[in-house]
Symmetry: C2
């Protein structure tokens, strides 16, 4: 058995190691176009920023180890330029010597990954503009950042853009972050990242949302970036982080089927339309684990699992890829945003019915020092209560809650199951009613009709609503939703006469708990009442008041 693997990072490296464990006698050739197999590409921004000090620490599986321990025939600077499926051969170009040769295979695994997208903007190929895909790019960015450079412009505020922004700022540069969308981190829903945008700005990053670069002019003085509103931003260098595109040309040229998003199509065994050719990682189009829809999401975890599965199938195992959930996390200046499953914007685009609830729990018991409030959102099916997605943003305990819900989504659990989750509790770690339980309580209360809700983002133009602020007078005085009437929940029972019976009541408090109690009181007195999910705090976030 001879296996050729094109691409030696993440999915390719996982496939190679797994293939070796299953096939001690197999000949395994790994063709890596770059200089390093199995490098830690998720660490690149932190190497640029200096948080990761040593370049070598990014080389998680050095060539020597792959060769000696796993007996992999790893060839770096080796580009596969053509696949001859009939002959079962790959043409390989040695990028050092320029020489070409042909390598036969019994089974081929394509793990070519994805490349940073460079849109055809005038001047984008300037030497002053870099992307961040591999160690060479990181080296180049470090050079640029450690020179006399004072200002950088980053185009694209996705994961990489945000991480690079933080890391360049850490090096002392003034960073302007340009993003076409009206928010940073487009996979998240907009309201969820508003607190992060505030935080990022406070850390000195200049955000230009709803904006794009239309022209790059370079000269010896620097880079002059013309934005879509006509303004010209000055910088010493620019970084383009506007997403990646699957490197599937090699496969497509050989007649391997690709999807509408450009990714290679595979079975759940990661097998392409050619049964001797597999594809894994960022180069493949996969399916959403929640909906089964085709998706193209570049993530390291799925790439690694797909690599294992391809190797398994080559060696006769029945391993199947279950699809990608889209679990992701990003850190920026000490804050964390995490998500799993579908976002509201995706659900809306799909015209899928969904419900959403918001909450603001603390990461651990409020009575123990250091508790930090987070913003959490849960999306679920109105009929069955099945969990569709979750997002959380805050300082601590964010990834934990999203990981727990990711597991619940994998198990196709419902919001009723979240109510019953039994999670770790001691005051420095969580709550007797963990944020995951609380999300379950709230969502289940909505489904059971105990807690009808109104969304904060639906209040505009909802003039028929009677807005009832049930916080204290002091809280109300500090800020409230315009038009609201204040009756503290403690006084509500005695002051029901002040609440109209002929209008729908939208009650709210700071985070949602007193609003819920007020809603319960009103409903039981035959008012048409609902709680504003996420309370004043969410409304304030959404309306720039916080």
């Amino acid at each position: 058995m001879k296996i050729v693997i094109i691409g030696g990072v993440a999915g390719g490296a996982s496939a190679a190691a797994r293939a070796r464990r299953l096939g001690e006698d197999a000949e395994i050739v790994v063709l890596e176009k770059g200089g390093y197999p199995s490098f830690a590409n998720c660490g690149l921004p932190y190497y640029v920023g200096g948080e990761i000090e040593k370049r070598d620490s990014l080389l998680v599986a050095p060539i020597k180890m792959l060769k000696e321990r796993h007996r992999l025939d790893v060839r770096v600077r080796s580009e596969a330029t053509q696949i001859d499926r009939a002959a079962k051969e790959v043409t390989v170009k040695n990028l050092e010597t320029g020489g070409q040769y042909v390598e036969a295979y019994d089974k081929l695994i394509i793990a070519t990954g994805a490349s940073p997208f460079r849109p055809p903007i005038p001047g984008i190929n300037s030497e002053r503009i870099v992307a961040l895909r591999d160690l060479n790019d990181a080296d180049r960015m470090r050079e640029l950042a450690t020179s006399a450079a004072k200002r950088a412009v980053i185009v694209g505020a996705g994961f990489i853009g945000i991480e690079v922004a933080e890391n360049l700022a850490r090096r002392g540069l003034h960073v302007t972050l340009v993003e076409l969308a009206d928010q940073i981190l487009p996979p998240w829903d907009r309201e969820m990242v508003l607190p992060l945008e505030k935080h990022v700005r406070e850390e000195g990053i200049e955000l230009r949302l709803g904006s794009s670069a239309t022209k790059f002019d370079s000269d010896e003085k620097g880079l002059h970036i013309t934005l879509s509103d006509g303004e010209v931003v000055e910088a010493d260098f620019g970084v383009v982080c506007i997403g990646v595109r699957p490197d599937s040309k090699l496969a497509a040229d050989a007649g391997i089927e690709c999807g509408a998003r450009g990714g290679i199509l595979t079975s759940n065994h990661m097998q392409t339309n050619d049964p001797d050719i597999y594809a894994v990682g960022d180069v493949v189009e996969t399916v959403c684990a929640v909906t089964g829809d085709p998706i193209q999401i570049p993530l390291a975890g799925p790439a690694n699992r797909q690599g294992r599965i391809a190797a398994d199938h080559i060696f006769g195992r029945d391993s199947k890829y279950r699809g990608t959930q889209g679990t992701a996390v990003v850190g920026v200046f000490g804050k964390t945003a995490a998500m799993t499953g579908l976002s509201e914007k995706v659900l809306r685009a799909k015209k899928t019915d969904y419900l959403k609830v918001f909450l603001h729990p603390t990461d651990h018991a409020g009575y123990y020092p250091g508790a930090q409030q987070m913003l959490m959102k849960l999306l679920f099916a109105p009929d069955t209560g099945r969990i569709l997605g979750a997002q959380a943003v805050g300082t601590s305990g964010i990834d934990k809650r999203i990981d727990v819900i990711a597991m619940a989504i994998q198990a196709e659990m419902t919001v009723f199951d979240l109510e019953e989750a039994e999670l770790c509790y001691a005051p420095q770690y969580g709550h007797a009613k963990d944020p995951v339980n609380m999300a379950g309580f709230i969502a289940s209360g909505v489904l059971r009709g105990d807690q009808p809700i109104v969304q904060a983002d639906a209040l505009t133009n909802a003039e028929d609503l009677f807005l009832l602020d049930v916080r204290t007078e002091g809280e109300f005085a500090k800020g409230h939703i315009p038009g609201a009437t204040n009756i503290p929940v403690e006084q509500l029972r005695e002051r029901l006469a002040e609440v109209p019976k002929d209008r729908k009541i939208a009650a709210y408090c700071q985070v949602g708990q007193r609003g819920y109690l007020a809603t319960r009181i009103l409903l039981q007195h035959d008012f048409d009442a609902a709680n504003i999910s996420g309370g004043y705090r969410l409304w304030a976030i959404e309306n720039g008041k916080l």
Copy 2:
């Protein structure tokens, strides 16, 4: 509807708040024997130690709030002394005035909790000995600790004993911790807490394992504790933390059925044998969510959920308690131990078939600064792969992994599902292959026959085994399992002739990964090989070498 709730902490308080939300018109009386309803009992050790500075912060739901917001008729220092089921009345003693009265109920919820056990040891009722159940106890302990006291003895090294030990040490006291078992934290398996015992000792705690107090002598000089080995330990005061017993006497006297462990028996609606009487929290015997066996575990999360469920059922809802998983976490001097599901010792006592694997992953990617190694154990069913339990000990990311596995246990997932878990990954948060995935890979490999394993604790007297250390010569020289032969995995393929064909090979490396590869190599060359789960590191922990 008139509901009387006996006990206003955790389960009782949850039941009261839920009952109010469901029944705005209900009369709800909460009888609390102590001075404070709804106080944070899990915070008491940290108030003793000063980490929680203000006593008031432990009063999570002050009486004023319960009265004004929830309209609960909360009566503190009010002890229910008798239940007359026929008349549906409770006799209440006012502990302030000594007066007695009778309170009628339609529905009664017993949430009397559990009391620290005080075994009949001579002298145990000394003024110099305290337990830790409520705020008064905490006040008393603070007084004792802030006096001229220099030495304390704690009897019992369970959750509370360990937390109190840390907190008294934080106050500058020399602490001796006496525990009857041969380990601290008896709910965990012994090998899992060995690293913690080392850590606790390094922090200055004197551990006396396998030891008990047989006599307490008090005089003006202090407390003289005679241990089971005859030694007398001197201290200024003592703390007794040898577990709790359900406060079920009131219920039992009224003919409410109790189980063998002393806890009140209930249906999954938390209903006792009297349909008008419910019981929740530490006073009830519940069932294990994994096995269905009766268990008595005092935990705050379950108590809170049970309170909700009892109130739900009173108001005609079909809510059901699913049983207790035993998810628990404890912190001590910056380290964390967490567990969920069954321990090996419980499985062994039940004579249930199980398999176990060990691993030592880091909390986040090794290439990102600050990664900390943990010890993790996964227990699962040999036939189906169903997850039975998990434990982890380390510095960071411990509660997260156990919470994820707790969710998997709740969903009755298998180790094969853990392989596919899609969890948050960025280098500062986790791994592309998270510890949860790794646990799944290893356990699944065992079940699929890819990775036969040998347990480190089974090596004694296993002289038929050929111990093969596949680490580097340098690692081998620093310490190895006695009798092992060293062939680095990188050289194994060339040196197979040195490995006997007629004996079973137990390969090992530092943590298990190279040992796994070596096992794969050997198996494919027709050796009878297995990997020592957890590697040299676990063996070293178990044998006091680390």
